[in-house]
Symmetry: C2
Subunit: 175 residues, 2 copies
């Protein structure tokens, strides 16, 4: 019956949370089935029982992460529409917050893979970029639609550029 959710579907959903966390903290390079399974307290065998293959798993997790970022933005920033320069700094501050920063790093990884590989990375990357820009436009104190959209794109560009440069400067600790 449809009202009786199978164990499989339940676990599939449950397992997604720690997997998203792992993806966020360790990045896509570290995202192999055995490591993800360990993070989720299960086995790689089970992950491939819940999901049809690795791409399905990663794609599902990334889609969920894209939604999480959207929610995070709404949650972390409650402000009236602002002028372009002000919004840029407001968002930049939010982006540097420890809760948000891992999303931005992941987004950069996603962008490269979207370009080089395509799916399952392209769709979430585009979703994140698109939603981010829409969100920015909604928080800009500009009446004209076209100008508002163009300004949102400029803000997004500057923020992304700063993220990239910050990545280079804030380098991993060597062992």
């Amino acid at each position: 019956m449809s009202e009786i959710a199978s164990v499989r579907a339940d676990k599939r959903a449950a397992v997604l949370t720690p997997i998203c966390a792992h993806l966020l903290n360790e990045g896509l390079d570290a995202a192999n089935l055995r490591a993800l399974a360990k993070a989720a307290g299960t086995s790689d065998r089970m992950l491939l029982y819940y999901f049809s293959n690795k791409d399905d798993l990663i794609g599902t997790a990334l889609t969920r992460l894209a939604e999480q970022l959207s929610a995070l933005l709404d949650e972390q920033i409650h402000c009236e529409p602002q002028p372009e320069e002000v919004l840029t700094e407001t968002v930049w501050t939010a982006v540097c917050h420890p809760d948000c920063w891992p999303f931005m790093v992941l987004f950069v990884e996603l962008a490269v893979r979207a370009h080089r590989i395509g799916d399952p990375f392209a769709s979430p990357a585009q979703a994140i970029a698109h939603h981010f820009q829409t969100w920015l436009a909604d928080h800009l104190a500009i009446d004209d639609l076209e100008r508002r959209s163009a300004a949102a794109e400029r803000v997004l560009t500057v923020v992304d550029g700063r993220v990239l440069l910050r990545l280079v400067q804030a380098t991993a600790i060597k062992k």
Copy 2:
């Protein structure tokens, strides 16, 4: 004798050119020893004879690529110092040129790995970013040193941001 270069040193230098090309066109993910050796017309065994290990090879190649990008910028753009907005568009046009674009993609890959892993990626990434910004400052029509440097950083930020967004939009062709 020091004037007699060994075969090893010669080949080590010669092999670097096709390896850099491979790195540039295929990215860091595809940079395994066997693939690089094939691109260089030799064997993985030989690459590890010329270089002490993979990190040494990649690090050397990346350093050379950083220098190549510097040369490319000088070569592709000969212009008088420009105001900030003009230089931004001049550089953006150059960056989108097929000769330069692969460098930018590689730079983004480098930035992520510099952040997550550190060396051998951090140093070349920082070199590229630093040289790029210096180059920009040299082409800005601003007298005051501090203002010029700040403007160069803004130009670099905008260009990098555009690169990132372009990556997401120009996605790989699916098979």
